[in-house]
């Protein structure tokens, strides 16, 4: 199964503070082990919400709200997409993250009080949609996925 792992935003990520060398070192080692274990499929960090926007839908109406969005606890600062055998395997990987950071000597900033939570959410596979999709639509979705992958490879190379 594939899961999306969501990293919460905090005061620093929302202030646009870039990660220091120790944090980067810990993350690179963690990612390395994820890649080696065949778990890692994708991962991105997000800029502060001040650089973003929200669009609200109500029938035909669309309203645009510019960032920042103040409820930092509900914002995400990054995500991974993982291939795992079970939710428990994903939980075990998530639990290990702070150890990697600690090993590189990273400590949370002084103003970093309180807890933080990482959310793990299973991702839908096209096969799980199968019953709802007509054969034409299913074929189209699969074909779109191929072209999306080709596009992603082109942008990153």
């Amino acid at each position: 199964m594939r899961v999306m792992v969501l990293m919460p935003a905090d005061k620093n990520s929302e202030a646009g503070v870039l990660p220091d060398e120790k944090l980067i070192a810990g993350m690179v080692k963690y990612n390395e082990d994820l890649v080696r274990a065949g778990v890692m499929l994708a991962g991105e960090g997000l800029q502060p919400s001040s650089k973003g926007a929200r669009v609200r839908f109500s029938g035909e109406e669309r309203s645009v709200i510019d960032g920042p969005f103040t409820e930092a606890k509900e914002l995400i600062a990054g995500y991974w997409l993982w291939q795992v055998k079970s939710l428990d395997e994903a939980i075990e990987w998530v639990k290990r993250l702070p150890d990697y950071l600690a090993r590189e000597g990273w400590t949370p900033p002084k103003d970093y009080e309180g807890d933080f939570e990482i959310e793990i959410r299973p991702v839908f596979e096209t096969t799980e949609f199968a019953a709802e999709l007509s054969p034409e639509l299913r074929e189209k979705v699969t074909e779109q996925e191929e072209r999306i992958r080709a596009q992603a490879a082109k942008v990153k190379s």
Binding site: Q47, R54, I120
Partner: protein, 145 residues
């Protein structure tokens, strides 16, 4: 530049695990087709209800696992796209054309290697690029299987 487009307001249906109807799926298929043709879309996934997920809370040395569903007022993500566009405005224009009739979408700029400072040494950068390549190969192999 790349933007992540998040469906940030999971509705009752997505949390109940109810799949969208054929009409909406058809409209969404057409919309995705436009995005693909324009070279905008790089990835897109829909998430299972939070009842199938979990959270891990970190508090000092303590790690607590909390099983879903997450019923508190917190916003729940129901899905996302990753888009390649020229500006935030272009992303907003695209999302306005989506078939959504309710809910809210959040548009967030994605970090590129060049957005990092000196902390990202050449060695780290090289390692990260190389990890990305291997992750992509892994994702591609997975989808083909």
């Amino acid at each position: 530049m790349r933007f992540m487009v998040l469906m940030v307001k999971a509705d009752k249906d997505s949390e109940a695990g109810v799949l969208p109807d054929q009409k909406f799926l058809t409209e969404m298929g057409k919309y995705n087709e436009e995005l693909v043709k324009a070279g905008v879309i790089l990835a897109g996934e829909r998430l299972h209800p939070s009842s199938k997920g979990a959270r891990v809370r970190f508090s000092g040395e303590k790690r607590t696992v909390i099983d879903g569903p997450f019923i508190e007022a917190k916003e729940l993500i129901a899905g996302f796209w990753l888009w390649q566009v020229k500006s935030k405005e272009e992303a907003i224009e695209w999302i306005k054309r989506s078939p959504f009739r309710e809910g809210e979408v959040e548009i967030r700029q994605v970090f590129e290697a060049e957005d990092f400072g000196r902390e990202l040494t050449p060695e780290f950068r090289e390692q990260m690029t190389e990890q990305e390549t291997r992750s992509r190969a892994q994702a591609s192999a997975k989808l083909k299987s």
